[in-house]
Amino acid sequence: MGHNQMKPTLIMVGADKGGVGKTTVARALLDYLASNNVIVRAFDTETPRGTLQRFHPAITDVVDINQTADQMRILDTLNTSQVKVSVIDTRAGALASSLAALRDVGFLDAAKAGDFNFVLFHILGPSIASLSEINETAPFVTDAHYFLVKNYVNDSTFFDWDPATLQTYFGKVKNASDVTIPKLNAMAYEQVELAGTPLSTFVADKTASGDPAHHSFTLRGYVRTWQNKNADEFNRIRLLDLVNGRG
């Protein structure tokens, strides 16, 4: 590994439509990275109020990805030695434009030059129209680790894509593979939303300030099982290796 500073990683979480559970996946990611002792910062682009920030206030800034000042903030954070990973939760429907904004400030060139690891989690919607979104994103992600995410949290059904069709889309992107986020019981999901805390805090039955939360054991159990399945999936795609530059 040597004495060189490790390359920072930018993980982008995006979708081209709302309601596909993008922020849920971002939260699952933050939780996974935290439990593996990875120092993370997050950028919530749902200005001005934010959606991700409510759950991870200490590590999340709300930004406007189209504002130069905020773009520079993101890049500066990436260059900070302490922070290994930055996660950007892009605004629903703004994946392609967010990628364009990053291209315009030279980020994609920097990724191409090997200054950063660039990982994209593209949350897909259940219809075949989603596949065409890959067409839009593909030009931006030639030097990225590109994951197409099927999010079953809210029990969506996904169109069973014909393998040949799927392959033509996957084939457009060099390092593309798929990730599955499994279903979580609706009431358990709601309770975590209401609690407004990181997943691990909910499972540990604590409030944000560390006091006993008295959540239902049954619901905490469902969330913990869901966390474990997500961890298995992130382990399978060797996310930690990607973050550590061993991908």
């Binding site: 009431m187 054991f217 049954t218 619901l219 159990g221 469902y222 099982t225």
Partner: protein, 233 residues
């Protein structure tokens, strides 16, 4: 001595083997020794167990999340109050799936709550298979086979499971007595504490004998559990 709370899971994969009778006997055993218990009836359609014990038992429909919470969350209270689950045969797989989804067994162990599985014998080869599967999946779970000769008079004629398995035996019951105890208002524990004067002496004696034989098996079991706990000191 550690305060341990026992959770009795009365179950069988087959219906109509006398599962609710076993749960009922266990409930009345506690009441007859002037102790309370908390009961959970998982058959939302025919909640005989809950109807028998309106003050101690609730209905918990495991097909909905609220029912799952109503069952699982209270089971983890180490309050010394025994818990009895009348597990509807159609809810058996769902229950164990829930147990696995929530990692209930590990949490129970951590909190000093001990589950005990009472499998009501539904005959070979099924009983042996199911018991073996349960024991393999949960090696630390105590499993007791219950032979209910009231529901299945031929039970016990042929061994359903390895003889090494602990068992309780519910003996045959005269049809007249059966009819008496099946009456909605008839309480076995009230009978033991204060036998009704208007019942024939013969019937009273026979019923008391039948109940006593069953209760004494429960009592021996509790004593064994207490002794095995103190052995660690």
């Amino acid at each position: 001595m550690t305060a341990r709370t026992f959770v009795y899971i009365v179950c069988s994969l087959t219906g109509r083997v006398g599962k609710t009778t076993v749960a009922r006997l266990l409930g009345d055993y506690f009441l007859a020794s002037r102790r309370s218990f908390r009961g959970f009836d998982t058959d939302a359609h025919e909640s005989d167990f809950a109807l028998r014990f309106p003050e101690q038992a609730v209905v918990a429909d495991l097909t909905v999340i609220q029912g799952q919470m109503a069952l699982i969350d209270p089971l983890l209270e180490d309050d010394g109050v025994p818990k009895i689950i009348d597990l509807w045969h159609r809810a058996l797989e769902g229950f164990f799936s829930l147990v696995d989804q929530t990692d209930f067994m590990a949490e129970a162990r951590a909190r000093g709550v001990e589950p005990i599985l009472l499998y009501v014998d539904d005959g070979p080869p099924r009983a042996a298979e199911v018991v073996a599967r349960i024991e393999a999946r949960y090696p630390d779970l105590q499993v007791i086979l219950v032979r209910n000769e009231v529901a299945s008079p031929e039970a016990g004629a042929e061994p359903s499971a390895p003889q090494t398995l602990r068992s309780f035996r519910i003996g045959k019951l005269d049809p007249v007595l059966r009819a008496i105890i099946d009456e909605p208002g008839f309480s076995l524990s009230r009978f033991m504490l204060a036998p009704p004067a208007d019942m024939s002496i013969v019937l009273r004696a026979a019923l008391r004998d039948w109940i006593w034989r069953i209760f004494s098996q429960f009592k021996s079991f509790e004593l064994r559990m207490t002794l095995s706990e103190t052995e660690h000191f």
